[in-house]
């Protein structure tokens, strides 16, 4: 299936575009694959975005927040929107949730046009915004009740549903306390459960786990996966790599408002030509052994720096036996060995030339970007 024919078309309408953005030549894309995160994906699109752009006009200059983005989200999948701060993820979510209108382009949510049928869309979506939107003067229970009524949850089931959600969020004992007294993590959990009080068809989560401790993040992830098993399509934005890796069937990279890649984790990993990185510590290294390793099929490069041998191979775990055999052959004792699969961050750096958390490219790495290491 052709997801988004990106034929280097000019920016739609050409409104306010000065073309100064350095977009990659083409967008990497592939057919959707039923994978970990998208258990329920049935191959039909629930969201279609077609050459969508959003320009914020300012006094001194215009900001292109979303730049000619096209893609589809499949029914039942967990779809990740990944990008640095200010990449345009939230703007895209706000357009899809009818809070902003696009400058140009079209989008359909469950076949409803975002411009023509916003009311219909609001009935089928649940949204957890990035900032806190609960009323801090009301209690947790009152907040949920308020939203339950706005989302047309029948009065007969609403109290039970509220308690179910409060328990889910671990807030049952705080039900009657004002939300203003809650910690950041508690507020966030309340926001998340609130988003699906009415069991929406599509759930938008904008940075759902921001500010949560590791345990709370895992709980949220479990909840997201559980909801997905119940046929909820989930679109989440994040700048946490591990979150996207853990949850998402397909991942879209957004960079400066443009879509730069969209694929499953598996396929994205294959984008990096160097493949996996295998690091082996040794006492000494034999040049002949190095030569032998270099000849092994699938090995791309070998470098030796003092006692460290670094091998990049297309499929690391499969090459290991052959590499070990070579060390055996030249009687070189191995002290330690590790395989490093490229993480989303590596892919991101490969695609954009900068780190995900670096914002404007100052290269600072902040904690929380999970690097996947397998021993």
């Amino acid at each position: 299936m052709h997801l988004f024919g990106h034929e280097k078309d000019p920016v739609p309408d050409g409104k306010n575009h000065n073309g100064t953005l350095n977009r990659p030549e083409g967008v990497l894309y592939s057919t959707p694959v039923e994978s970990e995160g998208g258990e329920q994906a049935d191959g039909t699109a629930i969201i279609r975005i077609d050459h969508l752009s959003k320009v914020f006009t300012g006094k001194t200059k215009n900001v292109i927040a979303v730049n000619d983005v096209s893609f589809e989200v499949m029914r039942g999948e967990i779809f990740g929107l990944l990008g640095a701060n200010g990449a345009g993820k939230s703007t895209l979510i706000r357009i899809l949730t009818t809070l902003l209108s696009p400058t140009s382009g079209q989008a359909f949510v469950d076949n409803y046009d975002i411009l023509k049928d916003p009311e219909k869309i609001r009935e089928i979506i649940g949204v957890c915004a990035q900032n806190y939107t609960s009323d801090s003067e009301l209690t947790a229970y009152d907040n949920l009740e308020f939203y339950g009524k706005l989302e047309n949850v029948p009065d007969s089931i609403l109290p039970d549903r509220i308690w179910e959600l409060l328990k889910m969020a671990g807030l049952a004992d705080r039900a009657y306390m004002p939300v203003g007294t809650f910690s950041g993590g508690m507020k966030r959990k309340l926001e998340i459960v609130r988003a699906f009080i009415h069991r929406p068809l599509i759930l938008f989560l904008d940075e759902p786990t921001i500010g949560l401790d590791p345990e709370a993040r895992r709980e949220v992830w479990q909840q997201i996966m559980l909801l997905n098993k119940e046929h909820t399509t989930i679109i989440l934005t994040t700048h946490y790599m591990d979150e996207a890796e853990k949850l998402c069937g397909r991942i879209a990279f957004i960079e400066r408002g443009s879509l730069i890649a969209l694929d499953t984790m598996e396929n994205l990993r294959n984008l990096i030509p160097a493949g996996d990185l295998i690091e082996i510590s040794v006492d000494h290294m034999d040049p002949l052994a190095e030569e032998a390793i270099r000849k092994i099929n699938l090995v791309n490069a070998v470098s030796v720096v003092e006692h460290n041998v670094k091998i990049s191979a297309t499929n690391g775990s499969r090459v290991i036996p052959a590499i070990l055999a070579a060390f055996e052959q030249y009687a070189i004792p191995i002290i330690s060995i590790s395989i490093h699969s490229p993480s989303l961050e590596d892919i991101f750096i490969y695609l954009t030339g900068k780190g995900l958390d670096s914002g404007n490219g100052d290269g600072n790495e902040t904690p929380g970007t999970g690097r996947r290491r397998s021993p």
């Binding site: 209108s101 609001r122 900032n131 939107t133 939203y147 706005l150």
Partner: protein, 365 residues
Amino acid sequence: MPMMLRSAFAIFKRDFKKFLSNPFIIMMTLLMPIMYLVIFGNAMGGTITHIPVGVVQEVPPYNDTPLFTSAAYQLNHIDQTDAEKMLDVTVYADEAAAKQDLDNGKLSAVIVFPSSVSNDNAVRVYLDSSDSITPALVEAAVNQVMLGLGAHNPVLVDKIYGDIKYIQFFSVGVIMMAIFSATMFGGGIALIKDRENGIHEGYLVTPIKRSSIIMGIILSGTVRAFIAGCTIFWIDLLITGIILQSFQDFLLVLLVILIACIGVTSLVVSFASRFATQQEYASVIAFLNMVLFMTSGAFYPVIGMPGWLSWITIINPEYYGIHALRSIILRNQGFNVIGNDLIALLIFSTAMIILGIVTFRRTLE
């Protein structure tokens, strides 16, 4: 010491930058005193003109006497320096009809002339004493005209609503002020707070309709204003010694307060539906409050305002509210007099509710 000055300057600079970045607030800061000058000055100090009075001649004789003709003519032509004439005289053939119009508030006074010039036959002046200014003016005018005609008939004055003190006259206006104050802090400010804190993003993605948001907030504001209005009404009764004539009057007062609350709240909410910050909202509402209260007739009869200013009263819900409340509380009048006020308030409310709904932004833009 230099360090302290430096920090002080930093605080100054930050505050001043914010001030300059909001031209709207600067404008309102200057507009407020100017409007005070123009509106307060004109509404309070204006010369009273065109007081509607009715004149009747006692019967018999059934044809107009020279005294009556000249008195009516002279009353109708009392010139005032720098202003238009004081009285608008309507000639009635029937005393009962004239008094009927006085009771219904169409006239401020009825003057009944005797058939002849004599010391025995008095000129009877019936005054709408619920007004704070006009009775004295009418009385003085009658005395002046009689003197001018050389007629020494005694002048009998009947204040039809008794002696009404200024505090009683003004206290009715204060009920309206309580309603407006309540809506200033209650009506729609929640919408702006939500907008400032970004909370509205949460409910704008739900299926809720704009009309539900506006109606809900108006309902809440109306209840708050109603409680404030009723409380002040009670306090008025205690402080000013007003005595209501019947329980029916009491219920009628509550009804008028309720409808006035809907009118004022929907006006305020229609503004709140558009504003982004509490500061902007507060400055506009304070301004609006001033203009509406000054022109409502709470302090001073509307009749004393210059023409252009009295036009504001036509679209001023507080004017109708105060007129209706005074009719019931001070004059013991009923639906036949306040009906138009209630209709005007309801039309006004409907227009404002529609305006509020139409201008409410359903998106974040």
